[in-house]
Point group: C2
Chain length 339, copies 2
């Protein structure tokens, strides 16, 4: 059975207007056939939060939504809660305190059932705290700022659905570059993944078993690859800024794909509009005609004159494109900056 | 004549306590021999600002401080103002609006005199706006946020003291990752340099003519190298987040050096304490003794027994270091995180 997709949402996903991310989650869970388990353990609110997602998911067409809310490790051993996860086609973890979520759920039957759900093909998603917990290593808490400083943040263990990675959320909005850089400087085998609000990193396996991340939503996903870092993170003192040189940065807006296994951007497929394609095909014809004209001129000037006269009689148009044309259709027509 | 040092200060340099950066500026200008020209054109205040720096530089030992304040391009042609720059051993540009500073000064005799001062060996420094103007390309203004978005910022031309670069300031404090990334994504031949508050990038030429950046102060200097970027900056629409994949990031705290010409970290020199050095030298002796012991054992077990017996008689101590020792003194003694 193939692994299900993961949806790592940076918090504050749009719930009122376009609802791109919530729609995508319900669709991945099976649309009208979906049975969604909402895990609101990270939140201090509980019923209110699961009530909101219940309504949201039903509006997008889910037929069954159930709240699975262990509030202690003991409750996370409850067979009924485990069965609810086992029956789900999608598991959604809400925002809140990721350390509360991980310390109640990780390493319990409910936690294991979430991992098993992913492995049997269900979609597992989460927003904010529910995003953080999906990686092997979890950013537990920490301060804002773009300069990484020793001790500015704390790491704990996550569910491990994304291996060899650490996930951060509200990334742009809460200025969390520094803390993610600090973590990867101290653990350079990890990939740092920062997800903006109303943005999701969807992680799926491709045919070769690679985990490939695709971005949807309003913001971007930032990937920090410290494989070749030079750092003093092992000796920087107290709260001093730390050296982190040679980290490779990937800033990925909607539509980008990134191979987490090879740590490289998946080249975007060239998108050619129908209009461009028609123009390109016509240009191809013109170029072939021009090539024949040139060959004729090489044979003799008289042969070219006869060719051109024949063509003008039969088509009634210019024999060849002028230099000011754009025969290959390469000049993109788009709205760009005017500066 | 060798070029003088540049001091690129990220704003809000400490003026009351340690005053590391201001001290360094006066020292570079010649200490008691220094004649400093303060250019407060960026500021809307003027006399108040130059008065503050007058007092600060005199406190650090400068004997002559003069304000050079053109308020129009015409005033920036004034021969007296030019002469004041020409007589200076240090030129300091204050904070304010870098676009005001550059539009009044760049390409005028006063601007040319600042460039000439650098070329004849004077120190040229500036804070905030006075930092931004030093690069060939100047970040004129723009919004905060760590995700780069199309049209979030605007570029203008600077003095060009640092070539092929764009400088940003208040970098950590005002969350300016996004705008610097946007600029380098659109102009990947430039190096992006972000300087935190109370932090300075000191740029000097080494023996090979490379511009080498050294960091002092409380924060860090962030360098973004987009040489191998993949980006959609040429076609991203309106204010959409832009793709910027493969940017190499260098986060440089105090004491780090970075070669701007080769775009690589200058490896820090190993710092070995006297105590460590003594231990290392003794360990060397022990290791040589051990090597001879092993050679003796290879010859015959009896030869080794005789060697060891001789040594114990003569030194009265253990014949060789035990495995729990740290003979090479490689375990650093420092204060590190306790987690």
């Amino acid at each position: 059975m193939p692994h299900g997709p993961l949806m790592i949402i940076g918090g504050a996903e749009d719930k009122l207007r376009k609802r791109t991310i919530l729609k995508e989650f319900v669709a991945a869970a099976g649309g009208p056939q979906s049975r969604i388990a909402v895990v609101p353990t990270a939140s201090s609110l509980g019923p209110e939060v699961s009530g909101v997602y219940d309504a949201l998911f039903r509006r997008e067409g889910a037929t069954e939504v159930v709240a699975v809310r262990p509030e202690s490790r003991e409750e996370a051993h409850d067979p009924e809660r485990v069965a609810q996860i086992e029956a789900a086609t999608g598991v959604f973890m809400t925002g809140g305190n990721q350390l509360k979520l991980s310390s109640i759920v990780c390493g319990t039957p409910v936690g294991d059932a979430i991992v098993a759900a992913h492995e049997r093909g269900a979609v597992v998603g989460g927003t904010s705290a529910g995003a953080s917990i999906q990686s092997s290593h979890m950013l537990a808490f920490g301060g804002p700022g773009s300069t990484p400083k020793q001790r500015m943040t704390q790491m704990a263990a996550g569910l491990g659905l994304v291996d060899a990675a650490v996930i951060d959320q509200h990334f742009d909005q809460r200025n969390r570059y520094g803390r993610l850089l600090m973590i990867v400087a101290q653990s350079p085998q990890l990939l740092g993944i920062g997800v903006d609000e109303d943005t999701a990193a969807i992680v799926e396996r491709d045919d070769e078993g690679h985990q490939v991340l695709r971005v949807i939503g309003r913001g971007a996903v930032t990937v920090l690859d410290p494989a070749r870092i030079t750092t003093n993170a092992f000796e920087a003192k107290r709260s001093a800024p730390i050296l982190a040189s040679g980290v490779v940065l990937h800033m990925l807006p909607e539509g980008s794909c990134f191979d987490l296994t090879t740590r490289t951007l998946v080249p975007p497929e060239a998108q050619v509009s129908e209009e461009d394609a028609a123009e390109l095909s016509e240009a191809g014809r013109d170029l072939r005609a021009m090539a024949r004209d040139i060959a004729a001129a090489d044979a003799s000037p008289g042969a070219l004159r006869r060719r051109l006269a024949r063509r003008i009689r039969s088509r009634g148009d210019d024999p060849a494109p002028t230099p000011d044309d754009d025969p290959a259709g390469t000049a993109p027509e788009q709205e760009g900056p005017t500066r």
